[in-house]
């Protein structure tokens, strides 16, 4: 399955196939989308139905080419499947775009003075790139590698099996990239994707608390004294987010 610049429709049809639900309407297959499409005008802060559709987000940090990489990589790292929502429909790309613009991603709480010496892995990150530079330089290097190796195609234009293979190689550090360690890039990128997937929806990901529902996390209830001694039943309440919205 090779496709150029996967459109939302293409992603949707792939998900339907993956989920064995090609005959069911998409909205029924994906609880999050279902809720958004059914939302009355003005509900949940949206001015019109589908306003919080993560595919409509316009990035302000990432360039279009980087954005295509992010969509594809997020879909490989946390795909939509029977277990729960995927990273893309959860809004993780939007989370990444917003998170890259925080002081944290600019290295505010990291010690960033030189000299930058090489040290064994036990000493942690010793480079001079901040988090957002690791992500940006890494994406550009991944795409440069793909264009060189696969006849001008970017990562997002490769088929899913090839994308998965490249990510696996980056995870182990076997993939040689220009200017950055593939392992460093991958570990930071994966970590950010998971942060976006599981953090409070206010940060742009975890749309409709889908990731919390998947694992049975009650979110920000922060009061469990009445349940601490219960042994024979699963915790019964759905999640609540920082804005007080219930899942």
């Amino acid at each position: 399955m090779s496709e150029k610049d996967p459109s939302p429709d293409a992603l949707q049809s792939r998900r339907r196939i993956l989920m064995g639900l090609s005959l069911a309407p998409l909205a029924a297959a994906l609880p999050g989308v279902h809720a958004a499409d059914k939302a009355a005008p003005g509900a949940g802060g949206s001015s019109f139905a589908g306003a919080d559709d993560p595919r409509r987000y316009t990035p302000s940090f990432f360039k279009d080419t980087e954005w295509a990489f992010i969509q594809a990589a997020c879909d490989r790292l946390i795909p939509a499947d029977d277990t729960g929502p995927g990273a893309v429909e959860s809004g993780v790309p939007a989370f990444l775009d917003k998170h890259m613009q925080t002081p944290y991603a600019a290295g505010a709480i990291w010690y960033m003075q030189g000299p930058f010496l090489e040290a064994p892995a036990e000493f942690g990150y010793q480079g001079k790139l901040t988090l957002r530079d690791i992500i940006r330089v890494g994406i550009d290097a991944m795409d440069a590698h793909c264009r060189k190796t696969y006849a001008g195609k970017t990562f997002a234009q490769l088929d899913t099996a090839m994308q998965e293979d490249l990510l696996t190689q980056a995870e182990s550090g076997k993939l040689k990239l220009e200017g950055i360690s593939s392992k460093l890039f991958f570990s930071n990128f994966l970590n950010e994707v998971k942060n976006g997937y599981f953090a409070d929806p206010k940060y742009g990901g975890n749309r409709n608390m889908g990731a919390w529902k998947m694992i049975g996390y009650p979110g920000m209830r922060a009061d469990y004294i009445d349940w601490i001694g219960v042994r024979d039943k699963a915790y019964p309440l759905p999640p609540v987010d920082l804005s007080g919205k219930r899942g």
Binding site: I78, A108, W110, F123, V193, D200, M220, I228, G229, Y235
Partner: protein
């Protein structure tokens, strides 16, 4: 030119537990006290208010309540012949900053030392002979006994509203407590918190092993409580945001909740937040401190003269201040001389994770930081170190400070890190797994020490503190022994699978992996000024109007969390200053 402020009786560097305790005790004695805190001021309202505080991304990723490493950090190397590199991203340990310090974001485990912990070297020598201690192991006795400290340990528990069950009360063993503890003069101020599933199962497994489980003493209030200072604490509601977070509920003991409400009303107490102390100023004899120099919130240099200087920063930064100020002689591992930086030690923390099927409702999002269950059957004199082949005890505990998905979800061995199989494992295991921690003592060695780094500087132009530390064979053997015991115990509970992370032979210290904030030593208390920086009252041998109060004073770390002993030592030092030093300023112990 620095602005010079009017002289005060005492200046305190750092407003964590020890700073707050000393400020309370010395203002009680009528002294005019100024406290300088490098971080921001903060309090339960509004800084820890629900719901904003229970935000995992902000608390555990952006580390809102912890120290930023942007301006101040340490450098680390494994051996003295290597070049150290900076601790650039927080991993292994998490120093605090801001009013409350690490006392804001701790979990609440509040142990007393065992009597034998306080006479550590003598006890090992008596039991196993002098030759049992390796030549490079520089362990010492604490120069204060458990009995001398008992009233001060008790006071700290009263202030914290510690929840627990006495095991030995005035020499009589009590059912339900730790039968091996030192005798207590009083019961804990509050009864233990309720057990969650993991601690209930710990009791079951521990009994199978023949151990004597007891509730972890926890400074997480189990009921409404008013401490001796009149500060009110609310019962913990198990919110699950203890470690890394300020307490939303006035339940977890902290300087913010338990002491500062009183201090803030006092006319003879002044708190200056956003005040970065650069050095202790000494007079021309180098035997007397004249005060401190700090940068105020605007970055302007200010000199605060004072009769007494109390170093109450986090352990590492107390040592750093002594080194950059020229107090005492830096430790030299080649000649084994000098005292500042000597006897650095850490904690030997390991973990065992148990995975169950979906009928087991572990609910890891429920959390009471310090609560749970532990045992002392492998700690202190209950452990036969001669047979085990290493020095130092340890314990296994069930503790659930609260987990959420951003902080990480445990998955069984062999699970991929991403993709559908990872998702499935996360969904299957989040609510049905829990962990036991395995915490061991950490000895001090000639080759593990603190010094100033020759290359890297902090944001204020000072050399960074350099940590030379690696795991030694003794601690690796201990890790394997304790984790093995925990695995045996865990298996009696019939989990689907179990993971242990004992250190492997030859394994090096890894700064990326969290392994407790219990860094210790570097400016230790002792009876011999040739081998200790401080006397038994935590007073500098070299500059007697400087006291350095905190875990920097530990000659080695015992099996427990340090906070209970740190608080007890703070009250002990405060009593010495009030009752002895103020009457006759000068050295409290003749060298």
């Amino acid at each position: 030119m620095a602005t010079v402020k009017p002289k005060v009786d005492a200046v305190i560097v750092g407003m964590g537990w020890t700073g707050a305790i000393l400020a309370k005790e010395l203002t009680d004695a009528g002294l005019h006290v100024v406290a300088l805190e490098r971080g921001a001021d903060r309090d339960t309202q509004p800084d820890f208010a629900y719901p904003k505080v229970v935000d995992e991304l902000e608390g555990s990723v952006h580390r809102r309540f912890l120290q930023s490493l942007g301006q101040e950090t340490v450098t680390i190397r494994h051996t003295g012949d290597a070049t150290a590199v900076p601790y650039r991203q927080m991993g292994s340990f998490k120093p605090g900053t801001g009013v409350g310090g690490a006392g804001t974001h701790w979990s609440g485990c509040h142990f007393r030392p065992l009597p034998e912990d306080m006479r550590f070297r003598s006890n090992v020598e008596q039991r196993y002979g002098k030759k049992f201690i390796p030549d490079d192991m520089t362990i010492e006795d604490f120069p204060v006994s458990y009995d001398e400290l008992e009233p001060h340990l008790d006071m700290f528990e009263r202030v914290c509203g510690t929840a627990g069950k006495a095991g030995v009360l005035n020499g009589v063993v009590q059912a339900g407590g730790n039968p091996f503890e030192g005798s207590r003069s009083r019961e804990y101020p509050l009864p233990p918190n309720p057990d969650y599933l993991g601690s209930e199962m710990f009791y079951k497994g521990a009994k199978e092993m023949g151990w004597h489980p007891y509730p972890i003493p926890a400074s997480n209030a189990s009921a409404p409580y008013i401490n001796p200072y009149g500060c009110q604490m609310g019962p913990c509601n198990a919110c699950g945001f203890c470690s890394d977070y300020g307490c939303l509920n006035y339940s977890k003991a902290s300087p913010n909740a338990c002491i500062l409400p009183v201090l803030r009303r006092r006319g003879n107490f002044e708190l200056r937040a956003n005040s970065q102390v650069l050095k202790v100023n000494l007079d021309s004899t180098k035997k007397k401190a004249t005060g401190v120099t700090y940068l105020d919130a605007e970055g302007k240099e200010v000199e605060q003269p004072a009769d007494i200087v109390l170093l109450c920063a986090f352990q590492l930064f107390n040592v750093h201040l002594m080194l950059v100020s020229g107090i005492g002689t830096p430790y030299d591992p080649e000649t084994n001389t000098g005292t500042i930086g000597r006897n650095y030690s850490y904690q030997n923390l390991n973990r065992v994770v148990l995975f169950f099927d979906k009928s087991v409702q572990a609910n890891p999002f429920i959390g009471i930081g310090g609560a749970g269950a532990t045992m002392d059957d492998l700690n202190g004199n209950q452990l036969d170190n001669g047979k085990a082949g290493f020095v130092g005890g340890g314990l296994v505990w069930a503790r659930q400070p609260g987990a959420g998905p951003v902080r990480g979800i445990n998955v069984p061995a062999g699970t991929p890190n991403w993709g559908s199989k990872w998702k499935q494992a996360v969904a299957d295991n989040f609510r049905h797994s829990f962990y036991f921690e395995v915490q061991g003592a950490c000895m001090s060695y000639r080759q593990n020490y603190l010094s100033l780094d020759p290359t890297y500087r902090d944001g204020f132009g000072r050399p960074l503190l350099r940590m030379t530390f690696d795991w030694q064979a003794n601690e690796i053997n201990a890790s394997q022994f304790f984790v093995d015991q925990a695995l045996k115990m865990g298996r009696t509970l019939n989990p689907l699978s179990i993971l242990g992370d004992a250190k492997k032979d030859g394994e090096h210290y890894n700064i990326t992996k969290y392994q407790s904030t219990h860094t210790c030593g570097g400016a230790t208390m002792g009876n011999n000024p040739a081998t200790s920086a401080l006397n038994r009252y935590l007073q500098s041998w070299d500059v007697p109007n400087v006291f350095a109060i905190g875990a920097n004073a530990f000659p080695q770390n015992n099996g427990y969390n340090p906070t209970g002993l740190v608080g007890g030592l703070a009250y002990w030092a405060a009593a010495a200053i009030r009752e002895k030093y103020l009457k006759d300023p000068g050295p409290l112990v003749q060298a």
